[in-house]
Each structure stands twice: as C-alpha cells, then as structure tokens.
Amino acid sequence: MKHFELIVQDLGKHFNRRSIFRGLTFSLALGDSLAITGKNGSGKSTLSRILAGVLSPSSGFVQYSSEGSAIQEERMKDAVGFVSPYLNLYDEFTATENLFLLSMIRTNQNSLETRVDDVLRRVGLWERRNDQVGIYSSGMKQRLKYAFALLHTPPMLILDEPTSNLDNDGVKLVKDIVRAQKKIGILVIATNDSREVRWCEKKIVLNVGL
C-alpha cells in the first residue's frame, strides 16, 4: 500500500468506569516509528490492540489511509502485522500449516508457498517448520508470531513486548526486523524496556497505570 498513513484523533478507552487513557492524538506516516511506554496497567497493550483494529475505542477514532483514501475494514487485515504476548497460533498444526491456513483465511494466496518458506527462514524456524507448534519452546513460538506478522508484508507493524521469551539471537532478529520495517513502513512498539524505546524516533508515555 502506497502512502500509508495512520491518524489517531482524541482516542480514549475505558473498561467499566475506569478510564485507561483518553485524548490521544497523533499521526504516523511511512518511515515513522513510535514507542508506547508507561507503567504496568497504563494501557500499552490496550492501545496496541486498538491500533491493530481488534479492539474498539471508547471515544475518538483510528483511521488508516492509503493514497489519501480511508482503508476499508476488509483491507485492514492486509495492512497490519501484530505480535503480542496475547497472540497464539494453533498448537495442533505445524508452523507451515499455521501460516498457510491463516493466509487462506486472510485470502492472501499470492505466491504463498514462496512467502511461507522465506519468512520461516528469516525467523530461523525453517528446520522445525514441520513440527507441531504445541512442542515449540516459548522462544520458538515468539519467532513464529513474527513469521505470521511479516508473511503479508504489512505497511504497519505493531509489536507488543517485542523481545519477550527471546534469546540473544532472537533479539538480534527483532532488531533486524525493526530496522527493515522503519525503511518500508510504520513501526509501533509497546514496551517498558528502555532499550526497545530507543529503537523508535517518537514516544508516547501513558500515565495512569496501577
């Protein structure tokens, strides 16, 4: 998607009567990177899920646009890649099966076999691609989440706690992914890790928390 842009206007979220955050306004264009940081319970993951389009805001709006036109919900699925501790893939399927099946649901089957192979090699799971995900370690599952997020080359990549469960090689992989994403798209990272915050040019601090 060319000239991809994210606009957030007066965004707020509350659960029951508790306000998590309110009045957030910012915009991001290709090449921008944003770190969302704050205390535990301040809404970092909540905000990242709203930006990914899987959680509705209580007030305000999030708008994605490409070449000046708003992107419809159906196409949103192709615009966002999301990695989160709350995301799981299917334990009863292999890594390859997971990526194939989920791509078919997304109805994105262009050169699928090649893309699956490439992304599994990139995240270092090629050797274990035919093992069921249920026997993967937590670090391997985290790498598979990256494979899932990158498979459709999204213009916007949202990473919630990007290096959780990863060893040094895994952290290096994430840094490479971050570097590549900053060149071609928009990057959003939700984290408390100061090293990860420094990967981004812009920063939002959510204030409420526990």
Binding site: R49, A52, V54, L55, S56, E73, E74, K77, V80, F82, S84, Y86, L87, N88, L89, Y90, D91, E92, F93, E97, L101, L102, S103, M104, I105, R106, T107, F148
Partner: protein
Amino acid sequence: MSSWAGTFAVVSKDVRSEWRTRYAVNSLLMFVVTAVSIILFALRSADPASDLLAGMLWVVIFFTAMSGMSRVFVSEEERGTTLTLQLVATPTVVYFGKLLFNSVLILFLSLIISLMFQLLFQEFSIKSYAVYVISLMLGSLGFSAASTIIAAIIAKTRSRGTLYAVLLFPLLIIPLMAGMSSTIKALEGSPFGEALPDFQVLAAYLMVMVAGSSLLFDYVWKE
C-alpha cells in the same frame, strides 16, 4: 467473493483441527451412543408410540447441540487464538465459517442419531422419507444457527457452561417443537402438505436466526 473464500478457509481450518484432535466429535459420538442406549434400555419392555420416539429423537439431538456446539468459539478462547482470528478475518467471515462448521457437525450427528433409532427401535419406522429428511435438516440447521451465536456470546464469560444452557434453551424451543411435530408426521406417513406449516416455521426461524445473528455478530466478536 473473497469473503466466501475466507469463510470456507475458516471451515477448512476447523475441520482439519477437529480431524487432528477429534476432541468434539469423539465426545459427542460417545454422548449419542450413551443417550440412545439408555433410551433403549428404558423402553425395551414397552411398545413406544411414534410420538414418544420422535420426542426422544429430538431430545438426543437437543442435548447433543447443548453439549458440543459451543466449542467453535470456546476452544478459540481457551487456546488464545481469538486474537489471531480477529487479525486475519472480518467478523462476517468468522461468523459464517463457524456457522457452516456447526451445521456440518450437527447434520452429521443427527444422521448418526437417526440411523441408530432406525436400527434399534422397530417402531421407529419412517413412512414419509421426504418429510423426515426435510424435518431433520431444517431442525438441525435451526439448532446450529442458535447455538453458534450463543456460543460466541458466552465464549468470553466465566460461567460458560451454565450460561450457554440458560441462554440457548429458550431459543431452541421453537425448532424443537416444530421438529418433533414434523417428525411425528413423517413416522405416521402424513402427506407433505400436512407437514408444510412446520417446515414454514422451521425455515422462517432459520432465516431470522441467521440474519439477526450476522447483524449482531460484529458487536459480539469485537470488544
């Protein structure tokens, strides 16, 4: 077109998952065998009338639906894969995919239940097959439509088991009564026209349930 491709991909995923784990099918088949066996033992010395057997048939189908149809959404919540599905599919694709899967499942199980009744109960003699097949299909699809939306509603709650039964039972009374009525007519050999009012009720129920659920599902699926 791409929505239907996504829908069938959801069904394909669920079928493959069920084939790999056999979680729902095994437990439901066991339930069906146990329930029909108990009915057989209870009625073995009696000459059950066709309306009693029709009622027993639909009781087994009813409790099969209550036992197993919630898994399409509850299993996604338990495995933490709801978010994954939300990232790859629109609510419409998810709803119709899950509805189709549940429909295939309940139709398969209804067929098994029906065959068991025909084999084990001499008095369960179908005199009008057209009426019987339409009754079984429309009734089962009605069960599937109601079960699917209620499963989506309760999947994120804590007291899923209780809430599912409490919310589902009132919704299933209409297809249950109409299904039993048309099945009795099939066993007694009534002409098609006599069963038509029951089919009209079942068809209308199915259309209203699917239309209403597909409109409401967006609000249920996305928090």
